[in-house]
Structures are given as C-alpha cells and as structure tokens.
C-alpha cells in the first residue's frame, strides 16, 4: 500500500523491481528486502492475498463466533477437523498466516507512507516549478492577445489563481514574465491521511482487544444483577485487563416484554417482533436508582460499560423436595433456547439432598407439539401450552471436587440414569402447577410457575471512539485522494508577435500575448475546463478594471434596455 498517487503519463515509470544486489553483504540484502517490501507491487500482492485469505473464515465455523458450531463440525468430520485446526482454519482471523499478511501489509504501508510524508512536507514548502519554455507542448494550451499590459495581466492572473487555491510564483523568462501555479496538494495529503488513519484503526482495534472485555449473564425477571466478575456466566477479558476493574453498577430486571408474529397465514409466523427489558439501574453503590429500558439496538450505557439485550428465554420456577419432603432446591431455572420456537434445554443440580444427589435433565417447550420426527418440539415461541419433560439422574454430580462446572450441563460420568424395569428412561411430564414424584424415593419436583429471563452482554471497549474517528479520517482522506485534482498551471504574458491579429480595437499599453498551459498530475477529467475557466476569469478581471471599455467598444449594447421607462 505504498503510493496510489498517479503519475502524469509523460513521466516514465521507474522500474519496480531492482535487480537483487550482488556481493553487497548483509546490509545490502536488508536494503533490498526493505525496498521490495515497500514497493507498490508487493503491497498490491499483499492486498490480494489478504482478500483471498479472509475467505475461509466465512466457510468454516469460527471459534470467536460460535464455539458450538466448531464442536458440531468436529463431530461431523472427526478425521478432517483436527487437520483444519492445525491450519488454524477455525481461528482464521487470529491465525499466524492471516496475521502475517496484514502485519506485512501495514509494515509495507508505513515504510512507504513515512518517506512520502517527508517528501510531501518538503514539497509543500517549495515554490511551484519554473515555467516551461514552450507552453504549447503541454496537454492544455490557450493563447490570446489582449490590449492590457503584461503587468496588469499578471496581477489579474495572480488574483485569479489564488482565488482558485493555487500556490503561485513569478518567473522571468525569454518569452516574457510568467506565473506558475500549483494546486491540489490536498490530494496527496488525503492519500497519506488515509493510509496513516488505517494504521490508527488497526491500533485502536488492538487496544480494544487488549484492554476491553466482554461478558455474558443470564438474569431471570425480578432478580438483580451486580456487575462483578463472580456474577457472570461467561467472562472474556482482554489480555491486559486486571481482575476486578468492572464498574460497580447494578440493575434489577423488572419486566421483560416479548412479542412474536402471530399471523398464522404468514410465512413469518413465529418470527420475533419486539424484545424489551425494563430495568432499574443504580450506577454506583448507594446512588440514585433510575428506570431504563434496554432493547435490541438500544443498549444501556452505564459507567463506561454497555449492556446489550442479547437474548431471552424461559426460566421455569422449580421446587425439588428430598425423600423426606424437605425443600432442597427452589429457584427459577434458565433453560437455553435451542431453536426459533424456543424449544429449550436445561438442567437442575441438587447436591444437598440427604436421600442422594439428584440431577434433572430437561426439555422445555413453550407451546408443546410433536415435531416432524415424532419427538416433542415447540411449535410457537410464546408460552401458549408450556410443558416440561425431565429425565432423572442420581449418583455423584461431581460438584465436590471444586472444579467449576457449566451450570447448563450435567456431568453424568459418575451418575446413573433412572429407568423403568425394561430399560426405558423415566421421563416426567410437567405443566405449571403440577408435581411429579421422583422414582426410587428421591423425592418430588414441582413446576411452580413460568418466568422469563433475559440474556445480557456486558461490554467495554476503551478504543471504540478512536476506531470510529480513525475510520472517518480514513474515508475523508480517501475522498480527497480520489477527487481533488492535482494540477500545475502556468500563465505567461509577453509581447504579442507583430501581425498576430488585429480584430479588436487596442486601447492602451500595447498588445500582450497571454499563454496558459496546464498539466494534470493526477487522474483529471476537468483540466481543459480549468484552463478555459482560468483564462476567462483573467479576461473578466481585466474587463472589470476598465468598465468604460466595453461601452466604448459596444456603444449600443445596453442602451435600449436602460432607456426603457
């Protein structure tokens, strides 16, 4: 990504590839390598490589997006998956090969842009170049003979060129005095800004990844959340985040409103229509409580962190009693949503039962029906006919050895599934308000009522704003580098050759040959128009200085209108 500055066609391109140095020793090789890396052609190849290497990340499941999808891929392709993993194809965007390409690209970019910035700064201080001897050789050339003196022509030209944002310098030469103008340095400035801002974006992304964090938490309706790492379900800090630096806000989830498309004739039947969470927020312990509503696309911003409504589901309120009839478990139990109709799965772990540890594995269906495969499935995401199916495990839940466990999974390695006499698992079916006895004197389970829960994502990215500012700077620079024309324009005022023409009446100061020459230094579709416009503006200015003259030359021109009553 070295230079996207276009050269005028007249200047031959320097050879892109130098021959490799022979016998130049280490330093020579380093120089040669550096020159290769920062060349236009290398940058172009790296750009194309970057595009190609980004593709597999959209073809294979990625760990950073969906761990479950990667696990599923492993199950479906047990032979292929380990090999793909060895090639980092499940972590494409943090893989060594992808990182290598974008880092090389950015090194190439910096290695080219920095020297160019130096040249550009020097260029800005240099006066516009001397006037070529023959302006007629330039791509655009105009010449006119005027009655004004060369001094007046140059004065007018200077004013016109400054108005049109040219930097000007005056030169004396054989053909007469001349003015050189150069404009459009903003094009190169924009180009450099674009490339440097891209580096800024990369740095902002890196800062966000190192010092930011992302966490997820499931909050049943009616309960509160205090922003501490211990309360989180998942905690994914950047490499340089220190443990307990979370802002100490808390909120109560007062209500959760969900609605789904209930038009049975539409092919959108069951599609989500609105989700919103009413919360009461306390920004700092002891502070005032304020009511806030969190919606999809409307996160809660509190104390530098953002809280997003990322999901929702059902949390059946369950009570488990042991064999003696004592309550050993009593709370809303979030079930994880598995499909668009909210068929959900969840587990209940009852470690403290004197009649034996109990694990319940459940499927919750908000609107119970039979799926196409004959298995129970939900047919609508709202709770129209909620049913809970449970299978019962007993044995060792594995909670006593202190290893943290996933609360949504049952470790059944030390447990036995309770079956009927002929080996079929016992499956309990519960509707709200119903109680079922657990087999083998383990007690009972009651489906008291149905609550909902909200899944929130808590996120902090310290460089979010910087990434945005650099992106917008990049676009601004890019726009300037594509659309600001870079031009050189010269105007020479000299004595008109005798007998050039004698069409007009000459008033004063003899006859002056005015020549305009223009050269494009970039893709430029308006150069001819610019040459015409500059000349016309100079002539108009000369006219303004002698307002009496048009009247002398065209005495009748305005009279009729002016004399009209």
């Amino acid at each position: 990504m070295t230079t996207t500055q276009e050269r005028p066609a007249a200047v031959p391109d320097p050879p892109e590839l130098d021959p490799a140095p022979v016998g130049l020793g280490l330093l020579g090789w380093v120089r040669w390598t550096w020159r290769q890396l920062t060349s236009m052609r290398t940058a172009l190849l790296l750009l194309m490589l970057l595009a190609v290497l980004a593709v597999p990340g959209s073809l294979f499941p990625q760990r950073n997006i969906d761990q479950v999808a990667v696990a599923t891929y492993y199950e479906q392709h047990p032979d292929l998956a380990p090999w793909l993993d060895r090639l980092s194809l499940f972590d494409v965007y943090s893989s060594p090969w992808f990182s290598a390409v974008y880092l090389l690209l950015f090194i190439s970019l910096v290695g080219c842009v920095l020297p160019r910035t130096r040249v550009h700064l020097a260029n800005l201080r240099q006066p516009p170049p001397r006037t070529p001897a023959r302006l007629s050789r330039l791509p655009e050339h105009r010449s006119v003979v005027v009655g004004a003196s060369p001094e007046r022509v140059l004065d007018a030209a200077r004013a016109v060129l400054r108005e049109r944002r040219y930097r000007t310098a005056e030169h004396a030469g054989a053909g007469g005095r001349s003015l050189g103008g150069q404009r459009g340095e903003l094009r190169e400035t924009g180009n450099l800004l674009f490339h440097l801002a891209l580096v800024g974006v990369l740095v902002a992304v890196a800062v966000g990844a190192l010092w930011g964090y992302r966490a997820q938490v499931v909050v049943p309706v009616g309960t509160s959340y205090v922003n501490q790492t211990t309360n989180l379900d998942t905690w994914d800090p950047g490499a340089l985040v220190t443990g307990d630096s979370l802002p100490p806000f808390s909120f109560v989830l007062d209500a959760l409103h969900v609605s789904f498309d209930d038009d049975e004739t539409s092919n959108q039947y069951g599609a989500p229509r609105s989700f919103s969470a009413d919360t009461t927020l306390t920004e700092a312990p002891g502070g005032a409580a304020v009511e806030r509503t969190i919606r999809v696309n409307e996160p809660l911003r509190a104390a530098g962190a953002s809280v997003y409504l990322a999901g929702n589901g059902y949390a059946p309120v369950l009570t488990v009693r042991d064999g003696n009839g004592d309550v050993v478990f009593d709370q809303p139990t979030p079930f994880l949503v598995q499909d668009a109709n909210y068929s959900s799965t969840g587990v209940v772990k009852v470690p403290d039962s004197p009649t034996g540890q109990v694990g319940l594995q459940g499927i919750f269906l908000p609107t119970a029906a039979l799926g196409t495969d004959g298995m129970p499935a939900s047919s609508f995401p709202d709770a129209r006919d909620p049913v809970l199916y449970l299978t019962v495990w007993t044995g060792d839940l594995g909670l006593d050895d202190g290893v943290p466990q996933n609360v949504y999974e049952l470790d059944t390695s030390e447990m036995t599934l309770i079956t009927t006499g002929d080996g079929i698992p016992v499956r309990l079916r519960l509707e709200p308000g119903q109680t079922a006895e657990l087999p083998d004197g383990l007690g009972s389970v009651t489906f008291d009522s149905l609550d909902r829960y909200a899944g929130f994502t808590v996120r902090h990215d310290p460089a979010r704003g910087a990434a945005l500012v650099f992106s917008l700077l990049a676009i601004a620079g890019l726009t300037a580098s594509l659309f600001v024309p870079r031009r050189r324009l010269w105007l020479r005022a000299g004595a008109a050759p005798a007998g050039a023409s004698d069409g007009g009446s000459v008033s004063e100061g003899g006859r002056t040959l005015v020549e305009v020459g223009a050269l494009a230094r970039s893709e430029d579709h308006g150069l001819a128009g610019e040459a015409d416009a500059v000349l016309a503006a100079v002539l108009a200015r000369l006219d303004e200085q002698h307002p009496q003259q048009p009247a002398q030359q065209h005495p009748q021109k305005h009279r009729p209108e002016e004399s009209a009553p």
Partner: protein, 340 residues
C-alpha cells in the same frame, strides 16, 4: 402494527408491471445498439479518428481587445456517436420506457414499505427489488450528465434478471421487521450500500465492455477480422470505457467504506462489537479490499488496463457472493433473507 395486504399486493402488481415495461425497453435499446453498431462500423471504415482537436479561430471577446489565437486540448471522453444527427429513435423510446418502468418500480418499492410501515429492505426479496430500482436510478443519473444510452442494454438486462430471480425465488410476504433490524442504522447502512452496489454493477458492465472492446481493437490493429458483435461499434473505445469504469468505482469505493463503517457502528449498537468477523462483515471487507487492490493496481506500473479490469470483475463477483450466497447459506448475524 399489522400488514396492509392490499398495499402489499398492489406492490407486487407494480413490480410485475415494471418488469414488463423494462423488457420492452430492453428490446428497444438492444435494437438501437444493433442498428447504430452497423452504421458506426460503416463510418469507421471510411474515416479514422484524429488524436486531438485543434481549433484555430479568431474571435473578438472582452473589452480589452482579446483575440483567441490558439486552443490545444487533449481528447476528452467519447466523441458523440450520433454526431451526424442520425436520430436514435429506438434509444429515445428505450429511455422513455426505462423512466416509466422505474416509476412503476419505485411505486412498487414505496407501497411495499408502506404496507409494513417500514423501509422496504428487510429481506432478500425487498433488497433485490429496491436495489435494482437504485441501479436504474443511478444509470439515469449518469445519463443526465452524459450520453451513455449505449449502456442501457447492459443495465436493463441484469436488472430484469435480478427482478425475475426476486419474484420467482426470493419472494417473501410483507411483514414487520425482526427486532434486530429495528434501527435507523438500517436506513443509513443499507441505503448507502444500495448506491454503492449500484455503481459497482454499472462499473462491472462497463468493465466487461471495455475488455471486449479492447479485444476488438487489438484484432483490428493486427488486421484480423473482429468477428461477431457488430453492436460493439456503437460503443466508445476501450480507453474511454476504462476511464468511465474507473470513475464509477472511484465514486463507489468511499461509499462502500462508509457502508462498512456505518455497519460497524450499527454492530456496536446491536451486538456490542463493532467488528466480529461475521460472514457478511468478512465479505463486505473482502469486496472493499479487492476494489482497493483495483485502485492500487491502476496506480502501479504494469498493472493498469486489463489486469486492473480483472480485479474489478473479481470485486463484482465478491459483491454477488455477498448478496446471493452469504445471507442464505452462511450462518451468521446477517441471516435476514426471509427464506426458510
């Protein structure tokens, strides 16, 4: 908010009517191209073009006795094709019909949006119908600045094809938006993407024509027969087509960058991450990189012209993957196709 089914079916009728009128416009413009190609081809054999024009003129202008002595200018753009005043009746009919079809088409887009009280780009069907309307709109905008009627065949054909695909395969009943799309960023992000994509579509057409024209020019220079495709005679020379392709892409490229940034802002608001390597994000990024490579190649010695053109075509191919494949087949946060 319920769906107004009367308006929704009015929208469908309007889209079908627009397709019928586009089809007639396409026929007229193809006919124009064929006849004009014959004519220009015959003229070419008679005369050769000069590289530049030099106007020698003496005139009197301004009050200080100005005499224009000389004016040398580089050739700019294609010479008007119908310079001899040959009326291009078929082209005129095609343009009028295109305008009429676009009005019907826009009517279809607006009624579709009104039927569900929202912007008409919530699923693949709506995206295709609205996107093709923007393509035609951008074509007519370019046409208002310069005579590019030769391009209309190569705009109307893909537009008609996409509309056919939309009504036959992608059709989805009008319905309210899912919560993830209920944001004003949907308006900003997607409408910029529409304009940018439309420019890329036009640039693709001009790039393909540029390559075909270049081939014919090479054949002619080598004294070989140019073979079939006489209609190409009606088109500007390849250098002009190349410049037009570049200008379309140059306008589109910053807009695509803006699409990317607006999408990132929205992603931050909706999902808490401005960049998550979601398949749609990845392909939007790939498209941007490929067109960046195109612009870069054009400024690199030995990479202009045909090689850069291949990159532009690759960019368009990625655009089509992003539009047609990613939403439907790659699971991700952008699975809003409405197809089941």
């Amino acid at each position: 908010m319920s769906v107004d089914t009367t308006l929704a079916s009015t929208s469908n009728s309007l889209v079908y009517s627009a397709m019928a009128v586009y089809a007639v416009a396409l026929g007229a413009s193809a006919f124009d191209l064929a006849t004009l190609g014959e004519k220009v081809g015959a003229k070419r054999r008679a005369a050769s073009r000069s590289a530049g024009r030099r106007d020698e003129a003496t005139s009197q202008a301004g009050g200080v006795g100005t005499i224009t002595v000389g004016r040398t200018t580089a050739p700019t753009g294609p010479a008007p094709l119908a310079e001899d005043g040959t009326p291009r009746r078929a082209a005129g009919i095609a343009t009028s019909l295109t305008v009429l079809a676009l009005l019907l088409h826009l009517g279809g887009v607006v009624t579709r949006g009104l039927s569900a009280h929202r912007v008409p780009w919530g699923n693949m069907y709506e995206f295709s119908v609205t996107g093709t309307a923007v393509v035609v709109l951008v074509y007519l905008a370019v046409l208002s600045r310069r005579d590019v009627r030769w391009l209309s065949t190569f705009v109307l054909a893909p537009v008609l094809l996409s509309l056919g695909l939309a009504v036959a395969v992608l059709y989805t009943d009008s319905a309210p938006l899912v919560p993830a799309l209920q944001s004003f960023w949907l308006v900003i992000h997607v409408s910029i993407a529409f304009v940018s994509s439309a420019l890329f579509v036009l640039a693709f057409s001009t790039t393909v024509l540029q390559l075909v024209q270049e081939r014919r020019e090479d054949q002619r220079a080598a004294g070989r027969p140019t073979g079939a495709g006489r209609f190409m005679e009606a088109l500007p020379p390849s250098a002009d087509l190349e410049r037009l392709s570049y200008r379309l892409i140059a306008v589109s490229f910053p807009l695509w960058a803006f699409t990317l940034v607006a999408g990132a802002i929205w992603a931050e608001v909706a999902w808490g991450r401005y960049w998550n390597w979601d398949p749609k994000e990845v392909w939007t990024f790939i498209i941007w990189v490929v067109y960046a490579a195109y612009l870069h190649a054009r400024a690199t010695g030995g990479w202009g012209g045909r090689r850069a053109a291949y990159l532009s075509i690759a960019g368009f191919a990625c655009l089509m993957v992003n539009y047609g494949v990613v939403n439907v087949f790659f699971p991700g946060n952008h699975s809003y196709s409405g197809l089941s």
